[in-house]
């Protein structure tokens, strides 16, 4: 059985040589899912029948492009024609989209084979995947800990070798934080770089789709396939997409990397500080110049985010009213009662909480005090980064304050859960591209370092992350808990 953790280029070489077929790779994916997903619980839906049909079509054919014939999976908030798309919510439990997201169409056109849909916090609201309306996913490194979230299923599936890569979405850290917790690479592209057509909307001014992969090279390859303008998403930007592979030179001599003193001044976890210090040394050793920068409004980012995102969500989620998306409460007395009952039964606790916060922040009399103020703070956070990028090419930070926490540890207090996104949220508010790369183990659990770039400069983000990865041995490590070797 083929090992799906060897990297996309290796899988492609195998297919090209003819020794391995797409069917072998797809079968390997389902075999791995069958062997370990009862423990990890990364998948909500497995599309075995369709995947095998598609893989057989590919039989005996030389792969056209780098992703041709290679299996992948999608977070369950991306629409897949004919395949249930639940967004981790009971309210969409029966919803089968009549169309596919643009990212799905692009991967399909590139020859990719969809093997299933991945678990997530309901409507992408959460940082642990415990808010899934169906079941929690577990971290393959330690099944008693969370995989992070909201793209927890995607991170866990890639980390445990069930798929070579997956797509997630990132509104406040939902690709990068689970990637860090599960020891894989996670890239949030610039706002507008990847089409969101067919992505179930959470907070539309922040949401972005990106890859979770085993290596930085794989992240570059997948981004290449999904990036670019789409007439069906008016926020996707009509700019040329550079060749990301040519950015991976391994050379970062003279690159200026900013260390935000506002991130490192806080009482950082001792283990995290140690791996961050070690990572800085590696980057210096590679010839990068590390410069202190200031992001003075960082402490307000979380407050601003937890008004802006719920406000947008309260509006976006108004459409789930029991009319068009499958689920409807059955015993309604009239139309209003039907709305109330459908939404109250279909949405989980955290989703209701955010809808209520958002509705409140937008309601008459409170709009200026909360929502507008949050948007003004957003301006200040954006300017902080603009000022920093006058002096540096990238900003360096931990991806998350700690490694993965235990299941149930933070479910009773929403605010503590929110704090796990403190280093990722400012990046979404500013719309910037950022990557999380594995940078060490703390007590046996993976930690991630984050590199944040200028708008549309994914190339520099990827170049530095790749150089770091090549100089260390953290990437590609495999969790022992599910039969890998660390």
């Amino acid at each position: 059985m083929q090992d799906l953790t060897v990297g996309i280029a290796q899988l492609h070489d195998w297919l090209k040589s003819g020794d391995v077929t797409s069917l072998d790779l797809v079968a390997a994916s389902f075999a791995r899912i069958g062997a370990i997903d009862s423990a990890v619980q990364a998948f909500l839906t497995v599309t075995e029948e369709a995947a095998l049909v598609r893989a057989k079509e590919n039989a005996g054919k030389t792969p056209d492009g780098i992703l041709d014939g290679i299996p992948f999976a999608l977070k369950d908030n991306m629409a897949t024609r004919g395949v249930k798309t639940t967004c981790g919510s009971r309210i969409l439990e029966e919803y089968i989209p009549p169309y596919s997201a643009t990212v799905m169409d692009r991967l399909d056109a590139a020859g990719g084979v969809l093997v299933g849909k991945l678990n997530m916090d309901e409507f992408a609201m959460g940082s642990s995947t415990e808010n899934s309306g169906f079941f929690p996913t577990r971290n393959p490194w330690n099944l008693g800990t969370v995989p992070g979230g909201s793209s927890g299923g995607a991170a866990a599936a890639v980390a445990s070798g069930m798929v070579p890569y997956a797509l997630g979405s990132d509104t406040g850290g939902s690709i990068r934080q689970p990637a860090a917790y599960c020891g894989v690479v996670g890239l949030k592209p610039t706002y507008g770089r990847v089409s969101r057509y067919g992505l179930v909307a959470y907070a539309s001014s922040l949401d972005q789709i990106g890859p979770l992969t085993r290596t930085v090279e794989d992240a570059a390859l997948v981004l290449q396939a999904i990036a670019g303008y789409d007439h069906r998403d008016s926020t996707s930007v009509n700019l040329p997409v550079p060749d990301y592979m040519t950015a991976l030179t391994g050379d970062i001599r003279g690159l200026r990397i900013g260390l935000p003193k506002d991130y490192f001044a806080h009482d950082m976890d001792a283990g995290m500080r140690k791996v961050m210090d070690a990572a800085m040394e590696v980057l210096r050793g590679l010839g990068a110049e590390l410069v202190e920068v200031e992001l003075p409004h960082t402490e307000y980012a979380l407050s601003a985010y937890y008004l802006i995102a719920p406000a947008e969500a309260s509006s976006n989620l108004a459409r789930y009213d029991g009319v068009r998306y499958g689920f409807r409460a059955k015993d309604a007395e009239n139309l209003l009662d039907m709305y109330n009952k459908t939404r109250s039964r279909g949405f989980g606790t955290e989703v209701k909480r955010r809808i209520l916060i958002g509705t409140y922040a937008l309601s008459s009399g409170y709009y200026d005090a909360y929502y507008k103020r949050a948007q003004q703070v957003r301006t200040l956070i954006r300017r902080d980064f603009e000022t920093a990028f006058e002096r540096v090419d990238l900003v360096f930070a931990p991806t998350a304050p700690t490694t993965a926490f235990k299941l149930g540890e933070k479910t009773s207090d929403p605010l503590t859960m929110y704090l796990s996104d403190i280093y990722t949220i400012p990046v979404n508010l500013a719309g910037l591209p950022a990557i999380s790369v594995p940078c060490g183990l703390i007590d046996g659990m993976p930690a991630g370092l984050q590199l944040i770039g200028r708008m549309f400069d994914e190339a520099t983000v990827l170049r530095a992350a790749h150089a770091y990865e090549q100089a260390t041995e953290w990437t590609g490590k495999r969790p022992q808990a599910i039969g890998g070797q660390a």
């Binding site: 001014s205 930007v237 402490e299 909480r353 301006t379």
Partner: protein, 96 residues
């Protein structure tokens, strides 16, 4: 800022959510804490700062006004909990 049970009831009605007495109790405490945290923003002097509503590139998106194929009605209505005569059906709004 704290949110009373009555406030929760009011906001829930705006959001078309039904909350039970027990939920009201918990939500009023949780939402108050979140709003208190959000209240941190009041410490900042924001006079003259423009709000940012989005960080996208400002671009005008236009296309030719040409008809394109839509999805077949049956496909669109396949997710309807209730449908009749090619329309989504909802419970009666008016009596009689």
């Amino acid at each position: 800022m704290s949110l009373s049970k009555k406030d929760v009831e009011y906001v829930a009605a705006l959001a078309r959510l039904h909350v039970t007495e027990v939920e009201k109790e918990a939500l009023s405490a949780e939402l108050s804490r979140i709003l208190e945290y959000a209240g941190e923003l009041k410490k900042l002097d924001l006079a003259g700062v423009e709000p940012t509503s989005h960080v996208g590139v400002t671009q005008t998106v236009v296309r030719k006004d040409e008809p394109r194929a839509s999805l077949p009605l049956a496909t669109v209505l396949a997710n309807a909990p209730d449908a009749e005569e090619d329309q989504f059906k909802v419970p009666a709004i008016l009596e009689g």
